[in-house]
């Protein structure tokens, strides 16, 4: 079960029209080398699920600037004007989701749950078109799980079994997305031998990881 592949081999899994989760938060914890490789590869019509639209020159932003996405599901796009421009021009379908709801929807997708019952968004346009469920007199929105064909995430350290460790604020959406995609590909800063990460400190167990690229 060798999970370590080259960047090129990893990118072979990504095809036009796929739904792709991309980890990171304003590019911190985003697998930047994968962004560059996807720009070079030129895959298009992607549906991208990520916290934000990154920056014009960093993170998910690179894919948007290169017009590789047809749809984006994100919580915040304000720091990459290109995202708003494409959205307003009708070139990019944009589903804006409250950040906590986005995290839970991804978690639910990876967790076999039927959805998320959240108070967030009640009484706002976020509730439009969604089922409302009352539990003990309080109204919640039923937000549906998210899954993807591919998750592109990053980790600071991984062992050869794919056990992952995330440094500082790079955790964010990475551990969640690792659970919710058919194929999970990790850009790892440093790959170590099995046993070098204390089993207490593993943040994402290797069973969630399909491929790793040392970046």
């Amino acid at each position: 079960m060798n999970k370590i592949v080259t960047l090129e081999e990893a990118m072979c899994h990504i095809k036009d029209g796929m739904t792709i989760m991309i980890g990171g938060f304003m590019a911190a914890g985003t697998p930047e080398k994968f962004m560059d490789a996807l720009v070079e590869k030129g895959v298009k019509d992607l549906t991208i699920i990520g916290n934000d639209a990154g920056w014009p020159d960093r993170g998910i932003g690179k894919l948007l600037i290169n017009k590789q996405a047809k749809k984006m599901i994100a919580s915040h796009i304000g720091l990459n004007p290109e995202a708003g421009n494409q959205m307003n021009a009708g070139a990019l379908e944009m589903e804006l989701v409250p950040q906590g709801t986005l995290a839970e929807r991804i978690r639910a997708g990876g967790n076999g749950l039927g959805g998320v019952l959240t108070p967030t968004g009640v009484g706002t346009i976020v509730e439009e078109g969604k089922q409302k469920i009352e539990v003990d007199g309080v109204e919640y929105l039923l937000e549906k799980p998210l899954k993807a064909d591919i998750a592109l995430i990053s980790a600071s350290i991984a062992d050869k079994k794919g056990n992952l460790y995330f440094n500082k604020a790079t955790k964010n959406f990475n551990p969640l997305m690792a659970t919710a995609a058919e194929v999970v590909i990790v850009g790892v800063e440093k790959i170590v031998e099995v046993g070098e990460i204390d089993p207490n400190d593993v943040m994402t167990p290797g069973l969630f990881v399909d491929y790793m690229v040392e970046v």
């Binding site: 938060f25 304003m26 590019a27 911190a28 914890g29 916290n51 934000d52 920056w55 994100a74 919580s75 915040h76 796009i77 304000g78 720091l79 708003g84 959205m87 307003n88 944009m94 804006l96 409250p98 950040q99 906590g100 709801t101 986005l102 995290a103 839970e104 978690r107 959240t118 108070p119 967030t120 968004g121 009640v122 009484g123 706002t124 346009i125 976020v126 600071s156 995330f166 440094n167 500082k168 604020a169 790079t170 955790k171 964010n172 959406f173 990475n174 551990p175 969640l176 943040m203």
Partner: protein
């Protein structure tokens, strides 16, 4: 003292020893500068940690350690990192004592609009909708008007961030509490008269019997 500092200083007085606080971007981040040194307030950063510290010295930035705006920051001793689901467990689960946010509009029912202007600016709600629903106390800190136009309205006309969740509003003109009866002006900046504050406010203000000067 400039307008923003007046607001930030007053908001800081709302925080208590031991509080967990989330500050929105912009003006609210200034609040951190006015917490007394002997008071233990921990700032939560919704991108995944508690213990948000000051900006790092130049040259000491760490790309792995940024705030929710993507800017380099530091973490204080006793802080901790977590993933986004845990971050919003903290927020939505009622474990944040107070959140301080800016607003485009706020109204007398405690409705808040701060995430989009249809057809123009649509930055997205980020963590704001969860914060406003989940935090025990929601404090809006903002300049009282925008280009001379009131931002404190009878009813918000921009898309809401959340309905009826705002607890108090702090501006350079004074402090208002959201109550069932409406907005109660409890403190006023002595540089302004009650009439001036009302004039700058679309919502009808209820003047507290014991109206005080704004503590800053």
């Amino acid at each position: 003292m400039n307008v923003k500092e007046i607001i930030a200083r007053r908001v800081a007085k709302e925080l208590k020893d031991g509080d967990v606080v989330n500050l929105g971007i912009g003006l609210p981040t200034m609040v951190a500068n006015f917490i007394p040194k002997d008071m233990d307030v921990m700032f939560q950063s919704e991108n995944g940690f508690i213990g948000l510290g000051a900006a790092p010295e130049e040259g000491k930035e760490d790309l792995d350690l940024v705030n929710a705006g993507g800017q380099p920051v530091t973490i204080v001793p006793g802080g901790a990192f977590f993933d986004s689901a845990t971050s919003f467990s903290i927020i939505r689960g009622g474990h944040v004592d107070a959140t301080v946010l800016g607003a485009l509009q706020v109204d007398e029912k405690g409705n808040l609009a701060n995430w989009m202007v249809p057809g123009k600016m649509v930055p997205g709600m980020g963590g704001a909708m969860d914060l406003v629903v989940g935090a025990k106390k929601v404090i809006i800190s903002m300049t009282h008007t925008a280009k001379g136009k009131p931002k404190i309205l009878k009813e918000c006309n921009l898309p809401l961030t959340a309905a009826g969740q705002v607890d108090m509003i702090v501006t350079e003109m004074g402090v208002m509490q959201v109550t069932k009866e409406g907005l109660v002006l409890t403190e006023i900046n002595p540089q302004y008269s009650v009439e001036q504050v009302q004039e700058a406010t679309e919502a009808k203000l209820i003047i507290a019997d014991d109206l005080k000067n704004m503590e800053i």
